[in-house]
Assembly symmetry: C3
Homo-oligomer: 179 residues x 3
Amino acid sequence: MSTTIDKAAADVFEKAMETIPEQAEKLVIFAWSGELDKLWPTLILATTGAAMGKETTVFFTFWGLFPLVKNEVRLTGDNWMQRMLFVMNRGGDQHLKLSKMNFAGAGPAMMKHLAREHHVASPHELLEMAREMGVKLVPCQMTMDMLGLKREDLIEGLEVPAGATMALAEAQGAITLFI
Amino acid sequence: MSTTIDKAAADVFEKAMETIPEQAEKLVIFAWSGELDKLWPTLILATTGAAMGKETTVFFTFWGLFPLVKNEVRLTGDNWMQRMLFVMNRGGDQHLKLSKMNFAGAGPAMMKHLAREHHVASPHELLEMAREMGVKLVPCQMTMDMLGLKREDLIEGLEVPAGATMALAEAQGAITLFI
Amino acid sequence: MSTTIDKAAADVFEKAMETIPEQAEKLVIFAWSGELDKLWPTLILATTGAAMGKETTVFFTFWGLFPLVKNEVRLTGDNWMQRMLFVMNRGGDQHLKLSKMNFAGAGPAMMKHLAREHHVASPHELLEMAREMGVKLVPCQMTMDMLGLKREDLIEGLEVPAGATMALAEAQGAITLFI
């Protein structure tokens, strides 16, 4: 008889469980800033999360999209406003600035040197690692439209561009950080 | 008999469930920055969250309070320190700066132009939309006290000013972002 | 008989519950910014969270580590690059700058004055309070290595330095904020 009871109880339980939102271990980062000192924690947290087995997504939006531009590409935009943005803010993960103490590029060079000395991976290496570890790197479609960025201007290995709805759907039940 | 078992199992289950914190779909944004390029993602995420059916709250604190000042109000503060803050940082969602590449106002004008061209709503429109969609817009009481802001200096349609306790209570189980 | 059924149902239930991740009320802040106007919300939220009974952790990383340097310590670093960082960015919670409107120190002085007048605790007092309330203040080991910071350069009462893995493990199921 105990089997019957177990089965009945399990059925009731299972049905009830369906009403509880699923709780997979997830990490969703909204990468809004394009600067070196913000891209670093974004990618260190993303790769660490992936290494811990968390489903990890980075949604690159606004300034955050610039580091995903291919290093060899010189963007020109569709009009003088977009052109001006790219002159001031050349894309690519080799051309990043610091949010403070940039000193016309001396700051980032110094930071990278200190990192290398202490065996901290560069953003470029971390981006590679993240892709290999299955971190979903998602460019924001709306930002691409506003900036006149085309898919082929961006590095390989990214997910299909998407919007805020996708990011917020992923974010439910996840560790969420806006960086 | 199976009815009895089901009932017994369901009772045990229900009692146990009460110990699990509720998991409504919620989004809580701490809007700390008053800049145009941060207010934009704040309001795009808030309205998207609301459209997805999430209970959405934006807690405006520190610099984040400035965009909520009525555009026609010129704040003077209660003393020279508050006055100086408002001279440097005129409130209102029509007077916002960019966090970088501000160029004495040319940057924000350019951004707004690009947005309009690509049918992205302005922060002013998004604030309206958010209110209409039932997003709770909560001004931080402590910041209002520090800055000498009165309720009538702020736009209509906001919730009663509150503190960090309210915001953290809302944040439990929610998607949380500090922008 | 109803006891038997209850017992059977409870057993099935308990086993199934073990698969749901625990949901203690937790707050985890990634304190990346070292500035006065960011340290303030970090510590106000942390102490409020602790007062609400949440297990609260602040993970201090990158620029966020500077306010934890003892006020009386003058850091020199191990090489000219680290030295330069500390000349520009003297550590300690008495030497913090604002992220904007710093005016060579006039901004922070003004802010502190306004806060005092409105009975808002200073970052120094809030750090004390946080420690007394059992908030876990965790310095980031990797940042310490990069900056050449030693444990004895930092204030008392901190947890053992740790890495991103610890922070993300704490963050699962918590309110998470990157400030």
